[in-house]
């Protein structure tokens, strides 16, 4: 079982390389920002970053050995596949980006309602839209009542919040 998992995991080493590649890129960028800085800004980063680069180098070597031995390919199927589209993950990512994009202008309540409704509709494959509408409405209004009306938390404010502030004084 363990061997089977190992083979399965190593079959798509491309996905496993994303984090180490990102780590190396970030570390090199970080080094570039401290190259001419005082030693106090450098010492910890060079120590930790140096070790991180060493670990990543060992990992790259491990992947290369597995690749040459035919135990790994550079595919990314463990990270990206058509299943991400079919299960609605890509749609959820798009609505999440939209949520962060629009929440400053539309305000917390309205954006949360739209995000919840669209996301639930996508994940439900456009079925049970009534349930999605009701759950989204209750959650968005509940969030407004708890956080903005009761706690007076400074969430992003928009048309709805300003109207309700006028109505509730």
């Amino acid at each position: 079982m363990a061997d089977g998992n190992r083979r399965e995991r190593r079959a798509h080493a491309g996905g496993e390389l994303v984090i180490p590649v990102a780590a190396v890129a970030f570390t090199l960028y970080y080094f570039s920002t401290i190259w001419n800085s005082p030693w106090t800004a450098q010492v910890g980063a060079f120590l930790v970053g140096g070790l991180l680069l060493a670990f990543c180098a060992v990992f790259f070597a491990r992947v290369a050995i597995d690749y040459r031995a035919g135990e790994a390919d550079l595919g990314v199927a463990n990270l990206l596949s058509w299943d991400d589209w079919y299960c609605g993950r890509v749609g959820l990512l798009a609505t999440t980006v939209g949520y962060v994009w629009f929440v400053e202008d539309l305000g917390f309540t309205l954006t949360t309602f739209l995000f919840l409704f669209l996301s639930m509709a996508i994940l439900n494959r456009l079925r049970r839209l009534g349930t999605c509408f009701a759950v989204s409405g209750v959650m968005a209004l509940g969030g407004w009542a708890l956080f903005i009306w009761a706690f007076d938390t400074r969430f992003p404010s928009g048309w709805f919040e300003q109207t309700m502030r006028g109505l509730t004084g």
């Binding site: 990102a22 070790l51 995000f115 706690f151 400074r154």
Partner: protein, 506 residues
């Protein structure tokens, strides 16, 4: 009160405090809610409700703030167990074993275990803190930068511990977290480092967006593959029952010694100003695993892996009050806000506080003890109902988690940038989970990295750059030895088990 003995004063304060049950009970529920939502905490709730807090009389204000503090700490463990989302950084070690229990249909037991461990841990450490306050108050004086470096390394060594299945990936994740934690200006010359030009990162990576992204957002994107949070392979889904609550409570009670020593770890770390619940829970988990007879079970839903961080982070609550009351030095953010509120009400801190105003000094500890007692009877029965969240279809749950936690990421600093940052961390967390890197290892690095660097630089600055200063103090050297033992014991145990297995096979 000055004519009364300490025992009589304590009895009087107990009776006075229990009379505030009408403040304690609603505050417990408020604390559970704010503790459970990333971005909200006891500290910023007291700030949000400052007009109310300042309007209260002194005793009511103390009871309110202390109860909120304890309840928020306990509440942070609920989403950590049920949906793999720690409410605060102090609960970041809780999902390591709490969430696997939920996935296997034991969420209710896990909640009951967490509540019992938290209550007993909090109650016990309150009593110990009260009894040993003069000694504990001195701990902060002995913990200089060198000693703090070793304490941080205790926490960081957990990276290797939780990444036992693939050490190299665990180290990459942990050190990547440490590098991310190094973003921001250095503590001596304020040189900006790795900020990508964003002014919002000059103070370092804010913790809540990192927590929200790595745990909540990435978990939400993964959970939609399943119908509910429970493993799809579970054919017989357990129905909520009182038996499960009692079973969980009994599992925790039967490990009472584990609760005792891990909560004392929390108490001692809580006394050190600037340390905090996150470090305490990581250290307690790591120590619990190191000295366990079954370390291989950790990370799979092992009760002791849940009890240790929950006892420890509740032990921190009483610990942070000690330097606050005795020295006027707050041990954490919530204690700092309490200090401001109480000073506004004319309370002067220091060793003489317990003679001048025993109702304040003893009252804070008594409020904490009574809050934990009442929490046990009010919250424990709710585990039966809370665990039902695991049966909500993920198609509804995932978007709710994303929206409310992303906005939670916005709350502490009120920067839109922090929501984008949380989303960025969500992508990192998702990639990490899908490809076998542990997000907890990244988070440990993000939390402890800046602290470690700060103390390291302070130690070097004080010694004029002499690295041997790391081994210059007696307490520090004792801690170094303990750290080496902590690292070596699992290796030795693993070697011994392998030898025994080989011997049996032969």
């Amino acid at each position: 009160m000055s004519d009364l003995s300490t025992g009589q004063i304590l009895a009087q304060v107990f009776l006075d405090t229990i009379g505030y049950w009408w403040v304690i009970i609603p505050t417990i529920f408020l604390g559970m809610i704010v503790g459970g939502i990333p971005g909200f905490s006891a500290a910023n709730t007291i700030i949000i409700l400052l007009p109310l807090t300042l309007a209260m009389d002194l005793e009511t204000g103390i009871v309110f703030m202390v109860t909120l503090y304890c309840a928020a700490r306990m509440g942070a463990g609920i989403p950590a167990i049920l949906v793999n989302i720690p409410g605060t950084a102090g609960a970041a070690a809780t999902p390591l074993d709490g969430y696997p229990m939920t996935r296997s249909g034991r969420g209710q037991q896990a909640l009951a275990m967490s509540f019992v461990a938290s209550s007993i841990g909090g109650l016990l450490t309150t009593v110990i803190a009260l009894a040993t306050m003069p000694i504990l108050a001195r701990v902060g004086f002995y913990m200089h930068s060198v000693e703090m470096i070793v304490v941080m390394l205790f926490g960081i060594s957990l990276i290797a511990s939780i990444a036992a299945s693939d050490m190299l990936k665990g180290l990459i994740a942990g050190f990547f977290g440490l590098m991310i934690g190094s973003i921001g200006t250095d503590v001596v010359y304020a040189t900006p480092r790795g900020t990508f030009g964003f002014l919002e990162l000059y103070d370092g990576v804010p913790l809540i967006p990192a927590l929200v992204g790595l745990f909540a957002v990435s978990e939400a994107f993964l959970m939609i593959e399943r119908r509910t949070i429970l493993d799809d392979s579970d054919i017989a889904r357990p129905k909520p029952s009182w038996e499960a609550t009692f079973e969980g409570a009994w599992i925790a009670l039967s490990r009472w010694w584990h609760i005792v020593w891990t909560s004392i770890i929390g108490l001692i770390i809580g006394v050190i100003p600037g340390a905090g619940a996150a470090i305490a829970s990581f250290v307690a988990y790591q120590q619990s695993k190191t000295f366990s007879k079954t370390p291989e079970k950790y990370g799979t839903g092992h009760p002791e892996g849940l009890i240790a961080p929950e006892s420890a982070n509740n032990g921190v609550t009483s610990g942070t009050l000690v330097p606050l009351l005795v020295l006027g030095i707050p041990g954490g953010a919530t204690a700092a806000i309490m200090l401001v509120v109480l000073q506004f009400k004319g309370v002067g801190f220091g060793p003489s506080l317990f003679e001048r105003a025993p109702e304040v000094g003893y009252g804070m500890f008594m409020a904490m003890a009574i809050a934990y007692l009442i929490m046990t009877v009010t919250i424990l029965p709710l585990s039966r109902y809370m665990s039902r969240i695991t049966t909500i279809p993920t198609i509804y749950l995932a978007p709710i988690i994303i929206s409310f936690t992303l906005v939670g990421g916005f709350v502490p600093r009120e920067y839109m940038f922090d929501m984008w940052l949380a989303l960025g961390f969500g992508v990192i967390g998702y990639v990490a989970r899908r490809t076998g890197y542990h997000v907890a290892a990244i988070l440990i690095g993000v939390i402890l990295g800046p602290l470690l660097e700060r103390y390291f630089l302070l130690a070097l600055r004080k010694s004029g750059g002499d690295v041997s200063t790391l081994f210059s103090s007696n307490i520090g050297n004792v801690l170094w030895v303990l750290l080496v033992i902590t690292i070596m014991v699992p290796i030795w145990q693993s070697w011994r088990r392998r030898r025994q297995a080989e011997a049996r096979a032969a």
